[in-house]
């Protein structure tokens, strides 16, 4: 084929095809493994939840540390987010006792952060308009810290009723996360078709989970579980895409001091892995696994 002088031809479609292929393989394998590994006892929901909180917390830690570093830690309160994310993450991984106050603080600070970010947006010229939603403090991000805290707190859950509550909560958190992705991928002009994946798969996964929360139904639980696995696989592939995305910025990874900030956030897609784990834990609980 004649090499093209042009800018756009095929490039994005090719990488998208590659990514979607990877997702199909990974997601397919995940769903198949679900069938195969049935006899082997699943990890306890509690462990899944702790992992979920840890992954979410780690993602938040990196994200808030970087974003607040970009903001020059201009306001001392900006230190709170990464510090708490770190604490909650450690607490969840190390299974440290007496972590309740820490996780609760994460929830509270996350909630307060929503207010701070709202204020940051409002005070820029133009106020609450699209441009500030794109570029001022990310409106929904602090919610991630609150979710981390709540997931960590939820690791004590053990009844089917807890499972339903957790399923409902996870579904809503997934939808919130989807909204944030939609905003940022819209900002990126959906320049790569694969950018539509994280606004397609998670809502489906969330809907199936929500259905279980509202009307527990063992017959469709497998589909709900499969969707969670697919979403987790998407989190893995998405991380790959974001790593590739940074490499395509001017200067690539060599210019990481700029591109890790201005490029796609590498830590972000893993939050979907965390949510998928939490979703699976919820389904486990509903199936009676303590």
């Amino acid at each position: 084929m004649r090499p093209s002088a042009r800018n756009t031809r095929n490039r994005d479609t090719r990488s998208a095809a590659l990514g979607i292929g990877a997702l199909a393989i990974l997601g397919g394998a995940a769903i198949l493994m679900q069938r195969r590994t049935q006899p082997k006892p699943r990890p306890k929901p509690r462990r899944k939840l702790r992992r979920s909180a840890a992954i979410m917390g780690a993602s938040m830690l990196v994200d808030s540390a970087m974003e607040h570093f970009r903001g020059g830690f201009h306001n001392k309160a900006m230190l709170a987010a990464p510090v708490l994310a770190a604490a909650s993450t450690l607490g969840a991984t190390a299974r440290a006792p007496h972590m309740l106050p820490v996780h609760a603080t994460s929830v509270a600070v996350g909630a307060a952060g929503l207010g701070f970010h709202g204020y940051n947006i409002a005070k820029r010229p133009g106020g609450f308009n699209w441009d500030n939603l794109f570029y001022a403090a990310p409106i929904g991000a602090p919610g991630g810290l609150a979710v981390t805290g709540l997931l960590a707190l939820a690791s004590d859950a053990h009844t089917a009723r807890h499972g339903r509550m957790l399923a409902g909560f996870t579904a809503l958190a997934t939808l919130a996360e989807t909204a944030e992705v939609a905003l940022l991928h819209f900002r990126g002009a959906w320049h790569n078709p694969a950018m539509y994946l994280p606004v397609t798969i998670p809502p489906i996964a969330a809907a199936l989970l929500l259905e279980q929360a509202l009307h527990p139904n063992p017959k469709t639980r497998g589909a709900a579980r499969g969707a969670q696995r697919l979403m987790a696989a998407m989190g893995v592939v998405g991380t790959g895409f974001h790593i590739y995305g940074v490499s395509r910025q001017m200067g690539g990874w060599h210019n990481w001091r700029q591109n890790a900030f201005d490029g796609p956030p590498v830590s972000a897609p893993s939050s979907f892995i965390a949510l998928a784990l939490s979703g699976k834990a919820a389904l486990d609980l509903m199936e009676g696994a303590p």
Partner: protein, 209 residues
């Protein structure tokens, strides 16, 4: 009298980023030439040279610069190479002729003020004389066909600042970020700087409200 110059960004040197992603190969090559290739005088005569150097010094006093930018040498080189800006005012001779005539006119003007030449005037007198030239208050016939203000602003001043602020010394002095490719900038908000920019400036009182 003009206030002394206070440097708001002491210690900031864009050349410190030479090896960083702010510089690319072509920028390094261009700046290496700028910093090392200073040609001996080729265009001006020795007599003109004295006046040109004095003129550069009055327009851009650099007594505080440890490594002053060789302004006169660059102007000489540009004229020697016949560098053009794309515009020749109908009421002006070509840049080469304009410089020759303008320097002769400045010398004559200085002599009319009782000095041997522009270089030999006191600094205050030099300043005053250039202000008069800028106002068109000239007394010699040497300006015939050469509008004094256009010569002074569009050739002398414009060329001197074009050399000085294209030089890392001039750029560092004003806290400019310097070369920026492949790496550009991340922080776009007021009062925010990336770690590879000059740290916040130190402003003398009269500039701070």
């Amino acid at each position: 009298m003009s206030p002394r110059f206070h440097a708001p960004y002491p210690g900031w040197d864009i050349l410190d980023k030479w090896e960083s992603p702010s510089f690319n190969d072509i920028t390094r090559a261009v700046l290496r030439r700028r910093l090392t290739e200073v040609h001996a005088r080729r265009f001006f005569t020795p007599a003109e040279w004295l006046a040109v150097q004095a003129l550069c010094d009055v327009v851009m006093p650099q007594n505080d610069n440890p490594r002053p930018v060789p302004l006169a040498d660059w102007i000489d080189a540009a004229l020697h190479e016949g560098r053009s800006s794309g515009t020749r005012h109908a009421d002006m001779p070509s840049p080469r002729d304009a410089w020759r005539q303008g320097i002769a006119a400045l010398e004559a003007e200085a002599q009319a003020r009782g000095a041997d030449g522009f270089a030999n005037l006191e600094r205050d007198a030099q300043n005053a004389m250039l202000r008069d030239v800028d106002d068109g208050k000239v007394s010699t016939e040497h300006w015939h066909g050469l509008p004094p203000q256009r010569f002074f602003r569009n050739l002398v001043l414009a060329e001197i600042v074009a050399v000085y602020y294209a030089h890392p010394t001039g750029q560092s002095e004003i806290g400019y970020g310097g070369p920026a490719s492949p790496r550009g900038y991340v922080r776009m908000q007021p009062n925010r700087a990336d770690s590879w920019e000059a740290p916040p400036g130190d402003w003398p009182d009269e500039d701070t409200p």
